[in-house]
């Protein structure tokens, strides 16, 4: 991002002031560049950017959500990540972590919006309820939708953290009583990055922010607005259990021998084959593990509608809409095929009976013709 008029300290200056050594700083740059999928020279780019660019002001809003995105973020593997963004270095306003409260906090936000109009990055955690004029989520006496519209207007870019902001997550599941709406449906005409997941991986969140700072523009996005560096592959395509899938070796139930052997979790409901995320590569909690590694199938938390998609977390084929809890496409299909077979059998019987006369006539004719050949 270009230096701004009011000269603020750079990220590097702030970090040194907090007591990080240059070595710590370079280690951080190397790690984050690797997570971002940059080539080796990317480390220098990241380092340069963080040394030269003043901090980017960030307004981080919390709407209908559980704060798991923030939790994930502050636990991303390098403490510097949290320090860069959260520890007052960059974060001008966030309800859950700022020291200020009440009017003071609102004033801080207003100040950032005025001083850095068109420069600040707006991060949104949570969906926005739109029913009843948005009364289901109010902060400081104003509705979420109001706040969002106002803050988005002066933002340089908007980041939707987590499935709530990107696709509505559980609040938007049927029957969606509050009209929970993902932010891309409410904000138009701003660069918008979707970082779905419940929560998204901390390193992925950090990677997106560092990309913004390093290159001054939003990362390359896929067709539905997610950063390609993290969401271009299915969990299934980077899963370490994949060889078992290809070998056709599956866990049949969570207490069987196959589960012990670590076979593929496809048949106990793993949604890895339909879920785009970086879990298999980046993993969680400092690269310790991820759901599949700890023996539970992927629940598809970064996919739209993962609550409503039909299958439970423990079955693979979804229940077929309108046909009861236990019926999936196969049950419905088998019944349909069976009914068809019965219908055809009835038709065959009726046709035989109705066609008796004509059939007999054809038969006599045919026999007579055969006789003539002698």
């Amino acid at each position: 991002m270009e230096p701004t008029t009011t000269q603020r300290p750079t990220y590097y200056e702030e970090l040194r002031r907090k007591g990080y050594s240059r070595r710590d700083f370079m280690k951080f740059c190397t790690m984050i560049a690797a997570y971002m999928g940059l080539e080796a020279s990317g480390t220098a780019q990241v380092a340069n950017a963080l040394m030269q660019h003043p901090r980017v002001p960030v307004i981080w809003l919390h709407f209908q959500e559980c704060t798991c995105c923030s939790e994930s973020f502050i636990r991303s593997s390098h403490p510097m990540v949290a320090d860069i963004i959260l520890d007052k270095i960059s974060l001008d306003y966030t309800e859950t972590l700022m020291a200020a409260s009440g009017h003071q906090a609102e004033a801080a936000m207003r100040k950032t919006m005025e001083e850095h109009d068109g420069e600040y990055v707006l991060c949104v955690e949570g969906s926005v309820p739109v029913y009843e004029d948005g009364v289901y989520c109010c902060i400081g006496g104003r509705s979420a939708i109001d706040i969002l519209e106002e803050t988005a207007a002066g933002a340089k870019a908007v980041i939707g953290w987590g499935s709530c902001a990107c696709n509505g997550c559980i609040q938007a599941a049927k029957p969606n009583p509050t009209g929970a709406t993902p932010i891309h449906q409410l904000i138009k005409g701003k660069p918008l990055i979707k970082v779905p997941g419940c929560p998204p991986i901390g390193e992925v969140m950090a990677g997106v922010l560092v990309h913004l700072v390093t290159f001054g523009r939003i990362p390359e996005l896929d067709r539905i607005g997610r950063p390609k560096a993290f969401y271009s592959k299915r969990v299934h395509d980077s899963c370490y259990r994949r060889p078992y899938y290809d070998a056709g070796l599956f866990v049949e139930s969570f207490d069987d021998e196959n589960a012990q052997k670590g076979y593929c979790l496809y048949k106990v409901g793993c949604k890895g084959p339909t879920t785009y995320n970086a879990c298999g590569v980046t993993k969680w909690n400092n690269g310790t593990s991820y759901p599949i590694q700890s023996g539970h199938g992927c629940i598809g938390c970064s996919e739209a509608n993962f609550w409503d998609n039909g299958a439970s977390f423990y079955t693979r084929i979804p229940t077929f809409p309108g046909f009861g809890i236990e019926s999936n496409a196969d049950t419905v299909g088998k019944v349909a095929a069976g009914a068809t077979a019965v219908g055809l059998a009835i038709h065959a019987t009726a046709a035989t009976l109705r066609g008796k006369k004509k059939g007999a006539q054809m038969e006599t004719e045919g026999q007579a013709n055969a006789a003539e050949l002698d």
Partner: protein, 238 residues
């Protein structure tokens, strides 16, 4: 006793017959491999995973067959513009009054088994034409959802043409469900199709089944213009 004499009519050209059987084979293979993808059998095996790849092979067969299925269908689409009149697209897609009247006649005679004037179709009867149009649509659904899911596993430009499908459909998950459910639609089509072929062949004795092998159907002498002319003259003379 006098039997009507028949004339041999070349109805299904060789390309149409080839299309038909390749398509039938592809659908069979795709249904079997697809069903296995959805419901893999339980195997308790002590073998090392590295020595075994049957599920991968099964998927490979599914995808390879999918390409054949696609190209075959594209070819048939082309042929519906250059082939003979029985192969023409109008047999499947001409929703005018006459078409619906013909459908009603087929419904009455062949499905409800009532008496009445037979529909003089030599190629597809109107209802059959409509059912093939439905099959064509189902095939398109399979191709769009299938290649939509497949695009991500491939670097070739052709599957990439379908890379927009998952986003437009709201995720891979729904695609898979549609893909899966449409398989059953196709299976039901196949059941009815097979039955009706046997039904017609048995009732009418005109070589319905073998026509897709030899290309010929047998049409009664009376159906040809000269015969009709002669009959007309005779009635006039009476």
């Amino acid at each position: 006793m006098k039997t009507t004499s028949f004339r041999r009519v070349y109805v299904w050209e060789l390309p149409v017959r080839l299309f038909h059987w390749i398509n039938a084979l592809c659908i069979t293979v795709l249904c079997i491999t697809g069903y296995l993808i959805a419901n893999p059998p339980a195997i308790l095996s002590a073998a090392e995973a590295s020595n075994s790849f049957w599920f991968g092979t099964n998927r490979f067969i599914h995808f390879a067959t999918a390409y054949v299925f696609l190209f075959n269908l594209v070819f048939r689409f082309y042929w519906s513009f250059v082939g003979n009149k029985y192969a023409n697209w109008r047999n499947f897609f001409s929703f005018n009054r006459r078409f619906f009247r013909r459908i009603a006649r087929v419904l009455k005679l062949d499905i409800l088994l009532l008496d009445g004037q037979a529909d003089a179709a030599v190629g597809h009867n109107a209802l059959a034409g409509l059912s093939y149009f439905v099959l064509f649509l189902a095939s398109l659904v399979m191709i769009f959802t299938g290649f939509g899911m497949y695009a991500d596993m491939s670097t070739w430009w052709l599957p990439q043409l379908f890379a927009w499908v998952p986003g437009a459909a709201g995720g891979d998950y729904l695609l898979r469900e549609i893909h899966h459910a449409t398989m059953w639609l196709i299976i039901v089509f196949v059941l009815i199709h097979l039955y009706l072929v046997f039904f017609h062949d048995r009732r009418d004795g005109l070589g319905e089944t073998s026509s897709m092998i030899s290309g010929y159907k047998f049409v009664e002498e009376e159906a040809f213009p000269e015969a009709r002319q002669k009959k007309l003259e005779q009635t006039n003379a009476d």
